[in-house]
């Protein structure tokens, strides 16, 4: 036995076997997604009643983003930059950021709850945030007040969900957790109906349309309201993405590996609530994205959250952006995006369920 020991200590460093697809995935997928999102943003700027070419849109966006004053004799007309800066770019950014935030939040929630069948809508945080939002609308708060109250509502709902599950002494990965989320979500939806009943004639149509989930009426302020929380909280979640692997093992396992599970869980709850609340505050209830997109991402790059989290975020951005483009361009009737994500998301998840046949969803 002793010989084995000595031998083990002098073996050269073991090479890590690489699948061919791994090398590919390591570089190709992130590159593709990065470029894809940026191209999608620019392409979306070309959609609309006013004619705009891709090159022109790219030029304008580049000059807008680059620090320093705009050129005195620009190669674009005042109309073109108005259309881009005032009308289309805010909406495109809103959709992209919403998708990014929902993709990341959904993935983090699925890791934390160890269940691939959850999303922000199921855990109740969307409904809670929506309730906070309509309450703020009822009391005629400023936009900053709406997002603040939406955040409080989201946090409240999440806290209720987890407390309820804890009260029934369920493990954090059980069906009880999901049911608790469904109940709490339903409760807040009922509260929303109460608020709608209390609203006066001027407030009600705005509330109703907002609740359906829409990016109409986007402006710079709304973009700021969603960009700051999503990008900041999203960045923090991104740095913690490897920890999500650990969290998804189980409370006891994670704890014995040396993690402060409770602190991490509350941190993630807080960050997810912030992201979802900011998204709900500016665009209403956009469901299904946080549930479907992590699945697709997992099928593409595997369950390791070091890759999964950013992939899900970027895929979510592409998903929501393309749906918003669809409703803007082809469907003149402006179907709310929340309706479209439900219409598209449901068959997609059914298809995924069928195709994967349980693989990658749980190895019970």
């Amino acid at each position: 036995m002793t010989e084995m020991t000595i031998v083990a200590k002098t073996l050269p460093v073991t090479p890590i076997p690489m699948k061919l697809s791994d090398k590919w995935f390591g570089w190709a997928i992130p590159l593709l997604l990065d470029v894809g999102v940026l191209v999608a943003v620019l392409a979306s700027l070309c959609i609309g009643a006013y004619p705009m070419s891709f090159g022109q849109a790219a030029r304008i966006v580049m000059h807008l983003a680059w620090p320093g004053p705009l050129p005195a004799n620009p190669p674009w007309s005042v109309k073109e930059i108005t259309v881009v800066q005032v009308i289309r770019l805010p909406r495109v950014l809103l959709a992209t950021l919403a998708g990014l935030g929902l993709g990341i939040s959904g993935t983090a929630l699925q890791a934390m709850m160890r269940n691939p069948l959850v999303g922000p809508d199921i855990v109740g945080v969307s409904s809670g945030a929506a309730f906070g939002g309509v309450l703020a609308m009822l009391w005629d708060f400023s936009p900053a007040g709406i997002i603040g109250l939406a955040f409080c509502g989201g946090m409240l709902a999440m806290a209720c969900t987890f407390s309820l599950a804890k009260l029934s002494e369920a493990d954090t990965d059980s069906m009880i957790q999901i049911l608790a989320g469904v109940f709490i979500g339903a409760f807040f939806l009922a509260l929303i109906d109460l608020i709608k009943h209390l609203a006066n004639d001027a407030q009600l149509p705005t509330m109703a349309y907002w609740l359906l989930g829409t990016f109409v009426g986007a402006d710079a302020k709304k973009v700021a309201m969603i960009a700051v929380p999503t990008l900041c909280a999203g960045a923090v979640l991104m740095t913690m993405r490897w920890r999500l692997n650990l969290l998804s093992l189980g409370d006891i396992d994670a704890k014995t590996l040396g993690m402060n599970v409770a602190m991490l869980r509350w941190l993630i709850i807080g960050l997810v609530s912030l992201i979802v609340a900011s998204q709900v505050a500016v665009s209403g209830l956009v469901g299904w994205v946080g549930l479907v997109v992590p699945h697709i991402a997992r099928m593409l790059v595997g369950p390791d959250h070091r890759r999964l989290l950013p992939t899900a975020g970027l895929l979510g951005a592409l998903f929501v952006l393309s749906l918003d483009d669809l409703t803007r361009a082809l469907l003149k009737a402006e179907i709310p995006v929340g309706v479209l994500t439900a219409l598209v998301g449901t068959p997609v998840i059914c298809f995924l369920l069928w195709k994967s046949q349980g693989k990658g969803w749980g190895c019970e």
Binding site: P30, Y50, L70, I81, T82, Q85, L89, G217, D219
Partner: protein, 396 residues
């Protein structure tokens, strides 16, 4: 022990950071000052409804009517050729039901005037901005107030002309729109002429009716109700001036503005009921007279319930052309003994005088709501070919 801070060492990690940073920077770009449209090289001044001067580019590139139907503009200018944009498909349907579409069928037919996307209230202010920009008109014309599109357009120094927004009564609105619109096309005398003939019709009515010398006046209520939807009861309270000119009293005077319901209307108990007949599935006299809620009203017992003049033909926008005729119609209902039956003739005259369009008998019937009011009393004087040698002293 932290081996690598923030995982940025590996270039693959940096790759994931790129979209975050890019989105953040592009979002920052949104906060640059909004672009402003440059002032036109050559321009003329037109004053808007508040008297503020507005620069309109020369040569004139036409009018885009924003946020309403173009009937007001057409009535005041008779210049459909300057119209560049008239509204959205909903507006087109509304316009199709108006008298003005008879006079200007080409405006109704021209698709390019109406292909803006649907403008719903809940949408943001830039809903139709894109389409409007593509039209590139010389001026955007419309109502200026609160959340209107005009206010948003003004933010970009686009040529915006408000023809009404701060007026209190319908008459003031009519005067303002007439003056601004006719000034816009360079013929302010058209607007003044319309205002003068409007005043003339009222003057003629006053001479004949002499409302100030009446000792008793019937009370009237203008309302809307539906026998199918009991919540749809509403009372109109903006016609007090018209009532006076027609020799009537306002039955709703003294009652608070909110809280109209069937009970309250029974308490008001008007002599005459005029039905607005729009919105909430509101109905006409036939249904009203059979609705058990109203059996206790004096107006129901005496069958003095009427659908308002021009409600269907003018969609509530009688304007300078037909408002005086409408008031005369009310007066003839209230005081048939004091007035000659002249509403049909007057309608025909006004339409011809203002538009050069001769209404036929069917169209006048539609205007006067002959069919709707056939169950009520005192309307025989409004039907075509009514012969009356002299006005009779009515026993009512």
């Amino acid at each position: 022990m932290i081996r690598n801070s923030f995982g940025l060492v590996h270039p693959r990690e940096a790759l994931w950071l790129v979209p975050f940073v890019c989105l953040g920077i592009i979002a920052l770009g949104l906060f640059r000052p909004q672009p402003k449209f440059p002032a036109p090289a050559q321009s003329r001044i037109v004053r808007d409804e508040t008297g503020k001067p507005v620069q309109i580019a020369v040569p004139f590139r036409g009018v885009a009517v924003v946020g309403s139907t173009p009937d007001g503009y057409l009535m005041d200018t008779h210049a459909p050729e300057f119209l560049v944009h008239a509204g959205d498909p909903d507006g087109r349907k509304r316009f199709a039901g108006l008298m003005e579409s008879l006079v200007y069928p080409e405006v109704l037919k021209k698709d390019s005037l109406w292909d803006a996307g649907l403008f719903k209230y809940a949408h943001g202010p830039y809903a139709e901005f894109e389409t409007l920009l593509a039209y590139d008109p010389g001026v955007f014309l419309g109502y200026d107030g609160g959340f209107s599109l005009l206010t948003q357009l003004r933010n970009f120094d686009l040529p915006v002309l408000a023809d009404w927004g701060h007026q209190k009564t319908n008459e003031q609105v009519g005067f303002s729109v007439a003056r601004v619109d006719s000034a816009l096309i360079g013929h302010p005398e058209l607007g003044e002429a319309r205002i003068a003939s409007y005043r003339r019709v009222f003057a003629d009515l006053e001479k004949e009716l002499q409302p100030s010398l009446m000792d008793s006046r019937p009370s009237v209520l203008t309302m809307a109700a539906s026998s199918r939807d009991r919540t749809g009861v509403s009372v109109a309270r903006w016609r007090q001036d018209d009532y006076f000119r027609a020799g009537m009293d306002d039955a709703s005077q003294g009652w608070a503005i909110r809280g109209d319901d069937a009970e309250r209307i029974l308490a008001m108990d008007p002599d005459i009921v005029i039905l607005m007949g729009t919105g909430n599935g509101a109905e006409g006299p036939r249904e009203f007279l059979q609705d058990p809620r109203w059996f206790g009203l004096k107006a129901t017992e005496s069958r003095r319930v009427y659908k308002d003049y021009g409600v269907d033909a003018l969609k509530g926008n009688a304007g300078l052309t037909f408002s005086p005729v409408e008031v005369r119609w009310m007066a003839e209902i209230a005081h048939p003994d004091r007035l000659q039956p002249r509403v049909r003739q007057l309608s025909r005259e006004r339409m011809y005088e203002e538009f050069g369009y001769l209404l036929n008998e069917d169209q006048i019937d539609y205007l006067l709501q002959i069919k709707e009011n056939s169950d009520s009393i005192g309307v025989r004087r409004f039907i075509r070919n009514y012969q009356s040698t002299s006005y009779q002293r009515s026993s009512k």
